[in-house]
Symmetry: C2
Amino acid sequence: MNRLNWSELNELARAEALQRPVQAVAAQTREAVAALIVQVRADGDEALRGITARLDRVQLDDIEVTAAEFEAAEQAVAADLRAAMEEAAARIRRFHEAGMSQGYTVETAPGVHCERMIRPIGRVGLYVPAGSAPLPSTALMLGVPAALAGCPQVVLCTPPRADGSADPAVLVAARLTGVQRVFKLGGAQAIAAMAYGTASVPACDKLFGPGNSFVTEAKQQVAQDGSVAIDMPAGPSEVLVIADAGANPAFVAADLLSQAEHGPDSQVLLLTDDAALLQAVEAEVERQVALLPREAIARQALGASRLIQVDRLQDAFDISNRYAPEHLILALREPRAWLGQVQAAGSVFLGDYTPEALGDYCSGTNHVLPTAGAARAWSGVSVASFQNTISVQSASAEGIAAIGGCARILASAEGLDAHERAVALRMEAVA
Amino acid sequence: MNRLNWSELNELARAEALQRPVQAVAAQTREAVAALIVQVRADGDEALRGITARLDRVQLDDIEVTAAEFEAAEQAVAADLRAAMEEAAARIRRFHEAGMSQGYTVETAPGVHCERMIRPIGRVGLYVPAGSAPLPSTALMLGVPAALAGCPQVVLCTPPRADGSADPAVLVAARLTGVQRVFKLGGAQAIAAMAYGTASVPACDKLFGPGNSFVTEAKQQVAQDGSVAIDMPAGPSEVLVIADAGANPAFVAADLLSQAEHGPDSQVLLLTDDAALLQAVEAEVERQVALLPREAIARQALGASRLIQVDRLQDAFDISNRYAPEHLILALREPRAWLGQVQAAGSVFLGDYTPEALGDYCSGTNHVLPTAGAARAWSGVSVASFQNTISVQSASAEGIAAIGGCARILASAEGLDAHERAVALRMEAVA
């Protein structure tokens, strides 16, 4: 890990310290993804089978998961895992439901009613990755808000396993949230199928979910094309921990490693005003990393990590707001008192007993969050991500008389005569 | 205008009837925009001056509007226009304020508190076009919600006039909403400046506002690059009117023309179950269009327009939801009774006395709306467009004991041991 003292760094060194591991998409990836999209658009299901045979080394009979496969999955998943998924889904549902927006109406002038209606997005596509391991928790994080929003068509893609089946836990999680249609597709080909549709896979209005660099690049390309909306730009996972002298070094080290084990390009940062804590955490990381099955991955991620000493905790918050981390852990004695300082982050974890893993799985918040600084202008997935708002206005004869004059002056000032006349005609009719 | 009978069309003809005028960005536009962006990133203000001299034929002394220019604008704007802008701003503020989201907290398990905080986006950039005429109303539509959101840095770009000054009405509108920094920049160069920053123009986290094809393409390119978020993909303006036998043909024609005068690529559609109304509207359009100063533009737009007869009004709503119009006018006797049928649209106008122009200017709703079918997955601008939500969780010793077991089972199932250990460590500490 890289130890730095913030006050000793010049602006250039500071910018470098907060640089994410290189995220520029290789031209090779971009071209490969573009080629896959072209293939899927041209040849539909045939292309999906061909690409899956080539990249996943799996011959798909059914692209879509069958009723029998869902049934087998129910049998295959252990009772305690199923119970944990149900427990997590219940808390995710509770938190997300409480944050749902309601429509409203305002009489903005006598006889003029303006309102906002909320509608589910009609067709949504969820992507559940299965890189080193399938992630049933992601199926919950996407499926629960889609169901709360009331989306009439929800489809889910997840990569096939070596034997051509889908991961049973992912299937059970999907069913728990009410998702009925699951396709055994991964990578850019899954994104292309959901964006443009094939004979098997319906075209969707919006795509959700994390994924590797191919999935991410494919989402960007189909969104750029204007065919479909996406939840957010995605990138490697990251955590920033702000700790004070009272923090528990073993806890902090465990949280840093939780992030580091995600992938070699994960980034972890620790900011503290206490030199002793920084040293203790570094020793603890070294001790704990050696115990991990995914030690090699974690060590790679630690190579790009930073342990930064600051003069004051306030400096740590300034740095954090500049970096805009996906996950922000406040390992502080009075974390809530500092919360007002947080301006940009995906999800925040307060105090010693709130490891990031709680939010990843079952506190109730969503784990699909903006990375790579996107938290400056994007938010994590919520029910609103699956809804549109539509504004509605209604003017009575009294209403057009009340505000028509204002509209006519503005229309004239903008040189839009037909606008002015459309209002004037009504005003004459009600005069 | 093109008259069609929906029930006589096969699926291919129906798809064609709902086709927007070609929106594919010419490769030429794409390359020109990319070149402008490269220039601005490389040479900053110098590039901005050079491009403005070349494209706008204006030598800019100050890129930023000075205090003296703001002062002169206040003097230049007529009292009635100023009053109309103030009146419109007040209603826009009232409607948008009533729809603001609040943070909330839920105790999802004993000792586990999850909450959502709302924060303004730090640096936002607004674009106010001035194609055939400057649009001060757009400054209000963007500036008011930005102010309500509490964005600490708001900048606005609008093209310079021939004499190098900014439009006085746009400046007054900007000031009315609290925008302090305005730059005399238009087109792709304005978007590039706000996305990447120059010595004069601060780099922004999110860009807002409509514009011509260069502005739209530039927004897409900077968003694709991941540097900045954008409000929505934009395209030519459009209206769909659903009218019944009782509708007033003169009103309907005036509304169709309000849209057609925006630009030659605007699209207008009329759907009705009454053949006589359809005929009457067509005659009225012909009568009214001849009276418009922008007749030539309107006639071009009418060339791509459609008058579609349907068997039942329900068919009209099915077609509208498929088309997902930016503006939807319900010129019906019982418009509110039909509102439940509207699934995808930007903004809806109810009844005979609610011309689209009211929403464009001063009913209180926003006029920055999704076009080109984007209303299927995007919503118009609101205060939420200028805010981020951040989730927060806090578990006490009791909390980790309550939900830690669930997290451990899920982490183990996903093969993420460090996650499992980060929870286990805490559970051991509190046991």
